[in-house]
Every structure is written in C-alpha cells, then in structure tokens.
Amino acid sequence: MALKLPERPEWTDVVPVPQYENIQPLAPIFYSPEYKDATDYFRGIVKTGEKSPRVLELTETIIRLNPAHYSAWQYRYETLITISASLELELVLTNALTKASPKTYQVWHHRRLLQTALCDPVPELAFNEEVLKADAKNYHTWSHRQWLLVHFDQAELWAGELSFVERLLAEDVRNNSAWHHRFFISFETGNTTRTRDDADEAVRRELAFAKERIALAPNNASAWNYLRGAAFAELYVVDAVEVGTDDVLDLENPAPSEGAELPCAAAIEFMADVHEARGKEGLSEAVKYWRSLAHTHDTIRKSYWEFRIRDAVANAGAT
C-alpha cells in the first residue's frame, strides 16, 4: 500500500484498535510503522466482523510483512469464502507468497484449504515440484506433496511419482527427503490404487534400486536406511513377501564405484546385523564387526557399538 491507511479515504470509517501491551510486556517487538498501522486496522476489522474485498487487501499487506500471522490468514480465508471470491485467483497470489516464504507453516496450510475447495491436484503437484527445485529438502513442501497424494488418492497422481523421485535422486543421491518419498510411494498404505502384486513387486524392485545406488555412493546413510526399510517392508505391506535374502546380502553385486571411500561403516553395520539375526552361530562374527566400528571405522558411536555387543550377547543368552 502506497499510502498509510489513515490517509486513505476508503478506510476512514474503520476505527483502528491499537495493541494493548501492558506496562512491561515480555519480548515486545519494535514494529515497523507499516505493520503497526495494518494490524491496528485489522483489529478494528475483526472487532466489527467485516468480511469484504478490502479485508483481502488488508490481510495481504499483513501477510507480506509477517507470513506467520496465522490470524490474518485465518480471517482472510473466512473472508474469501463469505464473499465468494475467486479461489483460482487466490491460488495465483498464494503461489507468489509460497515462493517468498516457503518455510512458513501458514502458507502451506492456506494451500491445503484452497486445494480442498478447488480439487485441482494435478497443477498443484507441478507447482510443488517447482518449489522443490529451489529447495529439494523443504519439509513443508514434501509434507504438502504427501498430503495431496493421500487426500486425492488418484491413480493419475501416483503414476508419475516414481519417475519424479528418480529425477531428484539423480540430482542428489543423498537427498533423504527424496528417499523417504520413494519409500512412501512404494510401501505406505496411502495409495489404495495399488494391488497386492504391485506390493510384492515393489519389494524386489526397491531392494535392487537401493543396492544400485549404494554401489554408486557407498557412504550414503539414506540409501542404507532405505535398504533396511525395504528389506523389512513386511512391516508396512499387508502380507510378508519372501525376499531372497542371499540376493540382498550379496553386497559385492553390484560392485562399489571406483573412488568410493572404503571400507564403509554402514556396510559393516549391515553385515553385523545380518549375522546377529542368525542367532548364536552368527554372534561372534557380528561382535567382530561391531568392534571394528567402535575402535576404527565409526568411533564417535563407540558407546553405541559396545551397547550393541552387550545387547546381542544378552539376547543370545536368553534364547
């Protein structure tokens, strides 16, 4: 707004309400004159309960100054609905606000409200990818994407996700958000368009995928966590799938890329777990691996590896 509100004729009928702070407030903010002005009028509007086009102008001013002002967002949404404003236009504005403040909870919540009303998830998914291009690990952006998929649950939406996530992992194989999303689309229960055969197939496909990426960059905790997750995916799919464990355990195939830093702590840990799972016969092998982690390859977690030894010995003794 170019002019201050008190100087604008169309606002003269509103009585601004100053903020009450008491004599000695806690953590008072030295507001800019612009923000103080806009919020004084906002409180005036809230007091009378007015819902009108100028409320949209006022709340936009506040949101641009403070995108975390949840009351301005909330009142804005109620106003949009009350005056039957165009939600399509609101989405265009919200796109700009999202790009300006991608880490604010409120802007994503507003998108969710708009999508729930507009039911137009395909372009929303495309916009989401655009935001991820600027920050591929923004938690809010990913949460919104996952919500879109589950909320609308359409085969058309799910269909492109695997290749989408593949593109992101090609750019950064250590992007854990992308790995998480891959797990979500492959195994989680939100997708009701998936069949039982799809689920069986997913375990085999994903184990192979994780191993290929591990060979590419062995010291990548995201890929190892994913391999564990996929190997134990029976926790997530309805029925257990027989997985050829030998195939998973053959860590030489595919072979690590040239120039990979070896030995890799995550591989040693994985081998230890596999031997631990064999019970008493595997115990001494597992302990050997854990010791090498504690003393040489992952010393910051020394106490943890020693705990793993104690835990495994106790469990073996108990059975």
């Binding site: 008072p28 903010i29 923000y35 004084d40 403070n66 975390a68 854990n176 979500f184 905790a221």
Partner: protein, 350 residues
Amino acid sequence: MDDLRLPTFNSAGHVAHCVRCLDGLPASLVEMDASRMAIAFYCLGTLDLTGSAEHRISPTDRESWKEWIWDQYVEGGFLPGPFVRGGSSGLHTAQQPSRVAAPHLIMTYCALLALAVLRDDYSLLDRAALARTVGGCQDPDGGFATNPGAGDADLRMTYCAFAICALLADWSCIDLPRALSYIQRCRTYEGGYGQTPQGESLGGPTYCALAALYLARLQPAEWRATVRWLVHTQAQAGGGLAGRTNKLADACYGFWCSAALAILGAVDLLDARALCGFLAQCQYKFGGISKAPGENPDPYHTYLSIAAATIVSADPAWGLQPLDPLLNASHDTVRWAKERVSVAPREPKR
C-alpha cells in the same frame, strides 16, 4: 581425549542475551509476533536452567511479567501475545475466546511452564476450561490442531496436549487410543517419527512422540530402530546432531535427539563430549547460542543448546540445573507446575 578441556561456557552471556530479548526484539523479527509466548518460554527457561531465575529477575519484573502472561489468557488457554487483541487487558475484561483469538495449544504449554519459572500460583487458571480446550483441539483421526478445528495437526501439538494432561493429572479430556494411533502412524522406516503421518523422520517430532508416550506412562513397542536412528544423527566430524539423515548438524537437534534418547534411557550412547564441543562452538561471542558455528544467536537455539548440555551432563563447571526431559524444564520448575496446575482451583484472587 578425556583430558581435553571443553571450551568455556559463557553462561552470563547467554542469560544477558535472553534478558535483552525479553526487553525487546527488533522489527526484523516481526515473524515472532505470532509466537512471542514461545520466545518468553525459551528466555525464561534459559534463566531457569542456568540457575539465574532467582537473582536475575527482580520482584517487580516477576510480577509484571506474570501479569503480561495472564493478559494473554483467554478462557481455556493462552494466546501467543496481544497481536490480535486490542483494547485493554484480557485479565481485566475477562475475554472470551473467539475464532481469531482462540487459545493456541503450543502457546498454552509455553505459558504454563513460563509461569512455573516465575513461580506463579495459577490461581487464575480455569482447569476445566483448559481441559476442554485440549480435548477440543483433537481431530477425529487422533491428531491435535493448534486450536479447535484449525486443521493443522502435527506431533508438536500432540506433545503439548499430553504435557498439559500430565500437568493437570487428567487424561479424561482426550481420546488416548486415537492419539496413540496417530503417533504410531507418524513412525517411519528409518526408526524416527515424522511431523505428520507419512512424514520423513525428523528430530523434533521424534522427541515429541516419545515424550508424549512416556508422559502417558507408555512405551513404544519397538525402540531399537529408534535408538539406532537417533545415535546416527551424531556427526563423526564436529560431534553435533542433525535433525534428518544426511543433513548438517544444528544445535537445536542437540536437544531434540539427545532428549529423545534420554527418555529411552540411552543418552549415554552418544558421544557427550563431542556434542558439548559442538554446542560450545555455536556460542556467539557476545552471548547467546546459534544453530551452527558462526551464525547469529536466538533464544530458541540458546535454550535448547543449554537443555542439551544438561541432558548429556556437560562439564559441572558449566553450572547447569538438571532437566526433566519429558516436560522440558528444570526439575524444580516441573515440580512447581505439577503440584499447582493439578490442584483444584481456589477462589480467584480478584
């Protein structure tokens, strides 16, 4: 390694930083307008954990700060600050909550603990209304929103709801089985918890999930994968803890992840010395602690770093008070709050 001394801990500087923030924040921090009560909690919490609340807060300040917090009270809970209200104090006009000025669950938790640091007697608290607010924030799927019907549920509010139930010693206001099912749905294949169902494992929500379960005197059925994920947040180089796999260390996760481990009885599996070394490097030369070395400090990272240091039993020379990892305040402050929030209300003083 063991005889290497940790860097000096500038306790007085951190207290001074928080006192400065309580006195006022620059216009550039206007985004804090909707979470001032949380700033108050982190600043007062810093005074609490450094053992300075007693002598750094004058009786006059104590009284007027308590009054400001109660000014943010609407029936059944607290607002983040006066930003949506005009006119006079809520206390003196007995404001009813409205759609735009509904009690906020996170701010209510922060206010109740901030009042405990100030040793308030909670005589103005309507406990039945508080319980109704908590119950009203619960969604049909078991999650909790910031205020009734807000539709913004995530594990932060589940934690706050459970913390308030624990303070009230009253769990009848929430649907516990549904709440537990929501928590369970936030668990991920990595072993941690996401902020919402289907979300990626993240340090903060993992703390919120575990603290909530233990506040309800429950335990997760499976904890080994959680311990594994949590100890792997510690960086081999630098010693700090990261919030997610393959992310950089951040001082605040020094707390969220170590406190989650403490709740599971496994905090000794971290390299405490390396973590404290990282936190000490995040100290700003003029006081306050930042998220990473060389960044600007703020009350959030200052408080959580100090809380992390006390969780992993830093050098006694740092002079920190022991912390209750479930409610996130010193033991004395938690005891104060539990004894007084749960009792039947007395006649209001006014």
